[in-house]
């Protein structure tokens, strides 16, 4: 079993900097301190919010310690619409329309919930996927 994740960051010469940016990394997602592949997933899912309330996307108490990885994408198209992403009640950042993120999650405490909060009370759709031990 293997799960691969790749990221590329690109920008032309004399654009972001004088030299072109062409960064590419790829990795296989494995369990902590081993070369054994992660074997569980939430599946690729979508949530459409219906208020500007904060929602718990993943409960830190439900997964425990591990080399979990999270993918999030804001499916909205209007540039002003965003989701606030929080972990352990600490704001990580905002995902604006079309933005995506991929980051590790240790879920090392029951307070380590991944929470999302849409920018408005109108319906906002977030796509997400968790890979976990």
């Amino acid at each position: 079993m293997a799960i691969t994740a790749g990221l590329t960051l690109t920008s032309g010469a004399d654009d972001l900097t004088s030299d072109a940016l062409s960064l590419s990394v790829s990795t296989s997602l494995t369990k902590a301190t081993t070369s054994t592949a992660l074997s569980n997933t939430s599946g690729l899912a979508r949530k459409t919010t219906e208020s500007a309330s904060q929602y718990i996307l993943f409960d830190g108490d439900a997964y425990g310690n591990g080399a979990h990885k999270i993918y999030l994408k804001n499916m909205e198209t209007s540039p002003a619409l965003y989701f606030i992403i929080e972990i352990n009640s600490e704001q990580i950042g905002k995902l604006y329309a079309g933005d995506f993120a991929f980051f590790p999650w240790e879920a090392n405490a029951d307070t380590n919930d991944i929470k999302i909060q849409p920018s408005t009370s109108a319906s906002h759709t977030l796509e997400y996927m968790l890979f976990y031990e």
Partner: protein, 154 residues
């Protein structure tokens, strides 16, 4: 206007009954707009030889009463553990709260708001990294953002 593009792929032929072949691409924009991000720290490569928790974006203002000037603006953070030893990892924290561990070869790509810390220790959401070993680990990190507030020289 700078055009910087981020692209992510996630794939597996055997995790699920159906093959996973996900790709996402996005041009990086300033908050709430379609204006391209035009500032970057560049990509740092560092060989860390201590397990000390370090602040990886050291030039950002910290502990000011009002917070960084670019708090709430768009910043994208990239961190990669270049180690090839599967037992070596780094703990990534934001304002002292653990996000997760990056094991050998792992990377992260995430937004960063530099939001004032909700835990009242006034670190304004510093991103920190603590390697698991002191025998030396190679790391890369960088940020593409709307701008950086530098400390006044003393």
């Amino acid at each position: 206007m700078a055009t910087t593009t981020a692209a992510l792929t996630l794939g597996s032929a055997d995790l699920l009954t159906d093959a996973l072949s996900l790709s996402a691409t996005k041009t990086l924009h300033k908050a709430g707009s379609t204006v391209g991000l035009d500032a970057t720290t560049g990509i740092t490569t560092a060989f860390l030889t201590a397990t000390t928790n370090i602040d990886i974006f050291t030039t950002l203002l910290d502990n000011s009463g009002d917070g960084p000037a670019f708090a709430g603006k768009t910043s994208w953070v990239y961190i990669c553990n270049n180690s090839e030893d599967e037992t070596e990892y780094g703990v990534v924290t934001i304002s002292g709260n653990i996000i997760g561990k990056l094991y050998a070869g792992d990377f992260l790509w995430m937004p960063w708001s530099m939001a004032a810390d909700s835990h009242a220790d006034n670190k304004h959401g510093d991103i920190e990294l603590a390697p698991s070993v002191a025998t030396g680990m190679s790391w890369s990190w960088g940020m593409i953002n709307e701008g950086t507030e530098y400390p006044t020289a003393v």
